[in-house]
């Protein structure tokens, strides 16, 4: 659930203001990259041990209840999975294969984790990415407008609906939409990404199936973005340089677009990059409710197994995405902050 992940208090925007006036040197780039790598290494280690604590009989994933595999076979599987080995040997072999880009074989799908993740990543990027882009546009517009026209009816309506939508879990929205649209034939409420029997061109079919899940995700993002945008717009609104700009006789709209907006965009941009990082972890609940074949649903299925190598791989990909996007936002910061650029 992306939204909840971002909704952690204090995450968005927080540190942005302090960093503003720092220009960036190659040394800093190196330092930041190294820090990010350090975090990634920490993630690798912690993830390994995190999954050792899950109880279970993984051999049963290869021979589930009711299928006849004798005790000897179960013992064999345990040996193959390296389950009898002491943890440091398991850890060592995990590290060794990781270095070679091998995340092991999925227990649930009987093929390399890397190829499983590769199969599921695009639907998620498509769904969450589209939702994110749509939401960024709409949210920015709504937020900037209601911040600028603070106290108007537009502001009141927009910000109160944003707060309300921010309080709706996206899967609940999905559920309500499905109940409401069931039987209407308007959109495919049965979910999925394509209809294998469809006569429509593939792209349209996908877009068609994407409408509802994308809507659910986008609404939550829009709420979040517009709230952030509104508050940073409020911050800028009464700044001195704007008074100067107005005094020069510039039109109100121009003042907003040319002067206030670029500055107010900073926290928004940070949040946007953070959300991109969380895009790959997808929307477990929305993907499940809408049978969307993405990483979120894959994670949910893997948790049910539990398919430990797959989970390990997924967690690594998820955290790496967030770390990389954070780093990216950090490095990009000087280029988008007009004050830093000027100095």
């Amino acid at each position: 659930m992306t939204a909840t992940a971002i909704k952690r208090p204090g995450t968005p925007g927080g540190g942005a203001r302090e960093r503003r006036l720092r220009a960036i040197s190659p040394l800093q780039v190196l330092r930041k990259t190294l820090t990010a790598l350090g975090t990634l290494a920490f993630v690798v280690v912690v993830n390994f041990f995190l999954f050792r604590v899950i109880p279970g009989s993984p051999e049963k994933a290869f021979a589930p209840r009711g299928r006849n595999a004798d005790a000897e076979r179960l013992a064999q599987i345990r040996r193959d999975l390296g389950l009898g080995l002491p943890w440091h040997e398991q850890f060592w072999s995990y590290l060794k294969s990781l270095v070679r880009g091998n995340l092991g074989d999925s227990w649930g799908q009987h093929r390399p984790v890397v190829s499983v993740i590769a199969d599921y990543v695009w639907p998620t990027v498509l769904l969450s990415g589209t939702a994110l882009v749509l939401a960024a546009g709409i949210g920015m517009w709504l937020g900037a407008r209601s911040g600028w026209r603070h106290g108007t009816r537009f502001d009141k309506l927009a910000s109160s609906s944003a707060v309300t939508l921010y309080s709706v879990p996206e899967w609940l929205l999905g559920l309500v939409l499905m109940v409401a649209l069931s039987g209407s034939g308007l959109f495919p409420v049965d979910g999925g990404m394509v209809d294998p029997r469809s006569t429509l061109p593939a792209a349209i079919d996908v877009a068609w199936h994407m409408v509802l899940p994308c809507f659910c995700l986008a609404v939550v993002y829009i709420a979040e973005y517009s709230l952030i945008m509104r508050s940073s717009m409020l911050d800028e609104r009464y700044a001195d340089y704007l008074t100067t700009a107005r005094a020069k006789g510039l039109r109100d709209d121009t003042v907003m677009r040319r002067h206030a907006l670029p500055n107010a965009l900073l926290p928004f941009t940070t949040l946007f990059f953070l959300s991109i990082g969380f895009v790959v972890s997808g929307a477990i609940t929305v993907e499940t409710v809408f049978s969307w074949p993405g990483l979120g649903r894959l994670t949910y299925d893997a948790l049910r197994g539990p398919d430990i190598p797959l989970l390990q791989g997924l967690f690594l990909v998820f955290s790496a995405a967030v770390i990389v996007m954070n780093l990216f936002a950090d490095l990009l910061y000087p280029f988008i902050d007009p004050r830093v650029r000027r100095s």
């Binding site: 021979a63 345990r78 799908q109 009987h110 499905m178 649209l181 294998p196 709209d253 074949p293």
Partner: protein, 633 residues
């Protein structure tokens, strides 16, 4: 409640449907407007030019495609590694077996082997392979392929893990000529009539070595000889199979079979309703009931080879008789188990939990297999709380001050009762059972956990009772083996690893019965022993059998006909031991273009989207004009 729950549900569905119509429009309009906007935006974003052009010419003669909706994705198309039921369904479609199970009653019927003979000592089997069978790449299927497939299942570690139980008695496999296979076994075994080992083409599989086979996906143009051929596989989305029009068992009447994966029951139900699938199976009772009165849909409540039980910890031990776990000692006392068994009202469970879609259970082999099924008849234990209380009194379990009975050893009859997260039925069952136990002076503390966790807990012997079930194969051997001493947990590298036993039952006379049925070739003799074994389990109350449940299937009878149950008397229509339904399916009349309604809506949607978009842009423009006017004032 005067009416039965089922009628209630169905009746209300209709009412609520009409009620829904009245409330939805305004909401729908708003949603449609918002969504249409999105569609318009998305389509603009998402359509690359070539994709739009690609579909310009729809294929002239309409292909007949049958779509089956499933919940559990096929875990692998490689028949040596996949373990879930849907994977086995795919293997049946793609490959052939030596001997099939009849649609009538599961009795052995010719598959790739036209006929077969047994030597007088029952140890040598000769199978005569059908002539003229071709692989999907045009090569001939011969006895060599058969011998290869068996040899591979014997030699390969991964392969043996999958089919080892079918080949464990085989000492030698040889193709004596192109159409004869001779198999020698170490002992006579009835399992030689049910060799569910798929026959694979040697010429493509010989390139898949022992190392590669465990992760080989087999999803691009696999060569097979079955009634269908895999042409497209999209994990967690759909699998497209093309009919093998030259199939030796007769050409399928449909051109294409698609197995489509959904995340849950609601998705399946909606898909059948709106026609994106033609059949769904293993769907929840709630969704199934909601489909009962939908025009064009036939619901079928078929017998299923599964049962649910309340299992006890009979004193967990490893195969070396070393005690493990922490089961409640009172459950080793048969009298306590019999009392609990007497306090379970199976009729209520069937009525309320299953809503009548099942029957009270007795023997561990379900009545779906009438040849093997055993039932106590008049000797069946019946629900009687007073009697259960009396049984416990007589056994010396007296009530203490707080109403909970105390055993002769001074230990209170307080039990842990585990149910499964994955199953609503399980949660309901344990709720009822806990309630009944409280009425015979016991206390059950209910915990609900995932099946995986429960598996681990059972293997360690750290439980008192739990609710779970089994699905039984046509050959009862495996199900009976679950209760043998050998299936108890064992120690592997210092850790306790689980076998299949989930009761830790270990009884020499039962083990003897089990071993005996394994070698009897005469069906009548074997049946007698199998029934004896079931009676032993019943008398010892190893499990409290709860019910045999039905399987919920539903299909578009307005579009397809030819659904064939196995067994003929109310069996399942798909996920059979065979592909009878898929072979017999035929379109009802001329298939209508299923895409047209979607296309219509799409056109309308995009139209609406454009209108709304225009409206919004206009509105924004106006608002902006107005507000700038405000500012100027």
């Amino acid at each position: 409640m005067s009416r039965t729950p089922v009628t209630d549900g169905a009746g209300l569905t209709d009412q609520s449907a009409s009620r829904r119509e009245s409330r939805v429009p305004s909401l729908r309009r708003r949603l449609a407007a918002a969504a249409a906007l999105l569609v318009a935006a998305l389509t603009a974003l998402a359509i690359p030019a070539p994709a739009a052009a690609e579909d310009a010419t729809p294929s002239a003669p309409t292909k007949v495609t049958f779509v089956l909706g499933i919940k559990q994705d096929i875990d692998s198309l490689n028949p040596y590694v996949g373990v879930v039921a849907s994977a086995y369904e795919a293997y049946q479609l793609m490959y052939d077996y030596l001997i099939n199970s009849s649609d009538k009653d599961f009795s052995p019927v010719p598959g790739l082997a036209e006929r077969w003979e047994t030597s007088t000592d029952g140890k040598t089997w000769t199978y005569h392979i059908r002539k003229g069978v071709k692989w999907s790449d045009g090569k001939d299927l011969t006895a060599k392929d058969v011998a290869y497939s068996f040899q591979r299942s014997i030699d390969g570690e991964t392969e043996n893990g999958q089919y080892g139980n079918y080949v464990s008695l085989i000492t030698k496999v040889s193709a004596t000529d192109d159409y004869t296979v001779v198999i020698e076994t170490s002992a006579p075994s009835p399992s030689m009539l049910r060799l569910l080992v798929p026959i694979l083409p040697e010429h493509t599989w010989k390139d898949i070595d022992a190392k590669e086979v465990s992760t080989f996906t087999n999803d691009t143009n696999p060569v097979g000889s079955g009634p269908f051929k895999l042409v497209e596989a999209k994990a967690n989305q759909f699998y497209r199979f093309e009919a093998n029009k030259g199939y030796w068992g007769g050409a399928p009447k449909i051109d294409e079979l698609v197995i489509r994966v959904y995340a849950d029951d609601e998705g399946l139900g909606q898909a059948l309703r709106n026609g994106s699938v033609d059949m769904i199976q293993d769907v929840s009772a709630a969704v199934w009931e909601s489909l009962r009165n939908v025009p064009g849909i036939t619901t079928s409540d078929s017998k299923y080879p599964g049962f649910n039980e309340l299992a006890y910890n009979l004193g967990a031990q490893t195969v070396e008789n070393k005690p493990i776990g922490n089961g409640h000692p009172a459950l080793k006392d048969k009298r306590v188990r019999l009392a609990i068994d007497t306090a379970i009202d199976r009729k209520t469970l069937v009525d309320k939990v299953l809503r009548n879609h099942g029957t009270a259970a007795t023997g561990v082999i379900p009545p779906l297999y009438p040849n093997w099924h055993w039932t106590p008849g008049d000797a069946a234990r019946t629900f009687d709380l007073a009697k259960a209380n009396q049984m416990l009194e007589d056994a010396g379990y007296k009530k203490s001050a707080d109403g909970i009975r105390v055993g002769p050893d001074g230990k209170k009859l307080e039990f842990r009762l585990f149910g499964r997260e994955e199953s609503e039925f399980s949660k309901d069952n344990v709720a009822y059972i806990a309630d009944w136990l409280s009425q015979i002076g016991m206390k059950a503390t209910v915990s609900i956990m995932s099946e995986d966790k429960l598996t681990a807990v059972i293997g360690q012997g750290e439980y008192d009772m739990f609710e779970w079930g089994w699905v039984v194969e046509p050959d009862p051997d495996f199900q009976l083996s679950v209760f043998t001493c050998d299936q108890r947990s064992y120690v592997d590298a210092g850790e306790i690893a689980a076998g299949w036993s989930d009761s830790f039952y270990c009884d020499a006379s039962y083990d003897a019965l089990y071993q005996q049925q394994k070698t009897l070739l005469d069906p009548a003799q074997r049946t007698a022993v199998i029934k004896q074994a079931q009676q032993k389990l019943y008398d010892d109350a190893v499990y409290s059998m709860l019910y045999y449940y039905n399987n919920f299937e539903a299909y578009r009878s307005d579009k397809f006909t030819g659904f064939t149950p196995q067994p003929s008397d109310g069996g399942s229509l798909v996920f059979q031991y065979g592909t009878y339904t898929y072979l017999n399916l035929a379109p009802v009349s001329k298939t209508t273009d299923t895409g047209s309604s979607n296309t219509l809506w799409l056109v309308l949607g995009i139209g609406a989207g454009v209108v709304v978009l225009a409206g919004i842009v206009g509105g924004v423009f106006l608002m902006r004009r107005r507000s700038t006017a405000d500012e100027r004032e």
